[in-house]
Symmetry: C2
């Protein structure tokens, strides 16, 4: 997903980036007090935090603004704390999935594996990389809390904010576990896939960050239901758009090879829909190719055709349209600040529009 | 280390256990709202939290009492939060070290690996167990914060307490990284080993929990230096006693096979001292056996003899005596409440006394 320079995400991005950079500077100094051997750890953290769309901070920020909160440094810092939670999730996810790259760069465990190899140390470089990445992810999770609590917002506001803050973390980890489970159970039906999306995408990426913003502004009770009605469908729609891009996206635009999600074997909703809609012969062939790392361009083309011909693509697009309508309608209710309402409406479009 | 029923650890143990149980009950309900598939996750968490000496909570509690704090539920909950941090450290440590057991039971990743195998799921049971354990450790880390912030102590006190709380987590993760590094660099000298002990044992187990107690009671500024003078030597002495038990301990008493640390190849201080003190022939033989999982009783006996004959054991015992004297002397300074001072003096003895 990309946003124009004037989008509601880029509006808050510089401030969030600044908070992240300042916080990382202080933490680098703390790590180096322990020893100069921690430099690669600090470097890996900085590289990880440099990337990312800052989507969760944007929803947190606009959730706060929607509740009448002012554009102050405290909310930038509290919002930025969500990027450290996300960094933990990604670093650990890459270890769990054994994924070598993240945003076109080596995954954290691969970085540390290379350090081991280049340093001529003993033992398994792979095990070292994995272990170090587990610890670096832990640091990100701990630091997410530290930045949140040190944001400068009042102790009472922070305490109120902990309701969605705590729920968000438990839900994303439970969602990750469900996701792992769906992979090994090879259930992967439409309903099971939607449940994982509900926790990993809808609640974690959109609803809870909005709730956090509202709670920090002291308006959790009256705004949480509205933000739920807006956030849950938007989160699923956003994930669906990403899933469609993972199968049909143009490499020029996604920065990933064509059909990358098929090659990785991701059990996304479009895959689940395809498997439920195709005949048994095509289903068997589709399953045989799914997750093949050496998938040819021709086979990607065949799989795209299968997803299109059986109506899976159209069903996903219809779902996006429905969810977008629901999210947009939700904004009409509730006492949301006018500037924020307009930003939240723009976010629906930016997160779910077809990419060409 | 074992404590008698009237020890300063058992004094607070029931209250800490109660806080952990109540918190886990609430969180189990939250996990089951996500789905009944989370039952094994909740069970694994409960099993992990059922064990443990509650040593860090005890130091936190007595740090608070030493600062004049009363025996209230809030400090029990804040102290109990440290057990969740420790649970994360152990669960992730077992993944990193690929250790199959913890306190005589299957390690968390082995529990979940068995679940995979018993359920007939697809893919690697080992990878599933490892991935699930990473997520379960993450839950423990997040929940440690939640329990701390929900302890019921005032927001101002909790905010003050975050200075040692935050430092403690960064330090233990940095210490774990240094520990991994020492293993692969095969440096393992006395100084390098002492540095890892400084972070993983002295600061994490004793000093920072005491600091936390003092900070929560509003007396961080005047008591932190005293608790440092007491806690750092005590923490190293405690770890040294554990290390000596890991080589010379009686299986009846430790619950582990004789010479278990030698079989695991742990680079403890007594090993470092032995390697620095023995001649090159013995050193080579000692290194050849170190970490051999099939070590015979005879070889364990020979390695014990080597550690004793070269003076490594005596050097470690001398260090314990020195550190015990330093820790005890530190209690004489500073305005520590009399009951707590006596408890802290008892903790020195309990944590470092020779076991027979």
């Amino acid at each position: 997903m990309s946003f124009s320079a004037s989008s509601p995400v880029s509006f808050v991005r510089a401030a969030v980036d600044g908070e992240i950079a300042r916080f990382l500077d202080r933490r680098r100094a703390q790590l180096l007090e322990v020893g100069s051997e921690l430099v690669p750890v600090a470097d890996a953290l900085e590289a990880m935090l440099a990337g990312g769309k800052r989507l969760r901070p944007a929803f947190c920020y606009w959730g706060w603004r929607g509740a009448g909160g002012a554009d102050v440094a405290g909310i930038h810092a509290a919002a930025a704390s969500l990027e450290f939670l996300q960094a933990c999730a990604l670093i650990h996810d890459d270890v769990i999935d054994n994924s070598d790259t993240r945003r076109g760069l080596p995954a954290t465990h691969k970085r540390l594996e290379s350090l081991h190899a280049a340093s001529g140390w003993t033992g398994s470089a792979e095990a070292f990389g994995r272990g170090a990445a587990i610890l670096i992810g832990d640091l990100c999770l701990a630091w997410s809390e530290d930045l949140y609590q040190a944001s400068g917002l009042g102790p009472e506001a922070l305490q109120t904010g902990r309701v969605p803050f705590d729920a968000m973390r438990t839900e994303v980890m439970a969602g990750q576990y469900l996701d792992m489970l769906e992979q090994v159970r090879e259930d992967g039906g439409v309903e099971a896939t939607l449940r994982v999306m509900h926790y990993k995408a809808a609640k974690y990426t959109v609803q809870r960050p909005l709730h956090l913003g509202a709670a920090l502004a002291g308006r959790y009770d009256d705004l949480a239901p509205v933000y739920t009605d807006y956030g849950l469908p938007l989160g699923v729609a956003f994930q669906l758009r990403d899933d469609i891009l993972g199968v049909f996206g143009d490499p020029e635009q996604t920065g990933k090879p064509a059909g990358d999600d098929l090659r990785e074997g991701k059990r996304t909703l479009i895959v689940a829909e395809t498997l439920e809609r195709t005949g048994s012969a095509d289903r068997a062939e589709f399953l045989r190719h799914l997750g093949d790392p050496l998938l040819s361009a021709e086979t990607v083309e065949w799989m795209r055709g299968a997803a299109e011909d059986c109506g899976a693509l159209a069903a996903c697009e219809r779902r996006i349209d429905d969810y977008v309508a629901q999210a947009t309608a939700a904004l009409e209710t509730g006492r949301i600040d006018a500037t924020a309402r307009s930003a939240l409406a723009d976010l629906v479009v930016a997160a779910t529009a077809r990419k060409h």
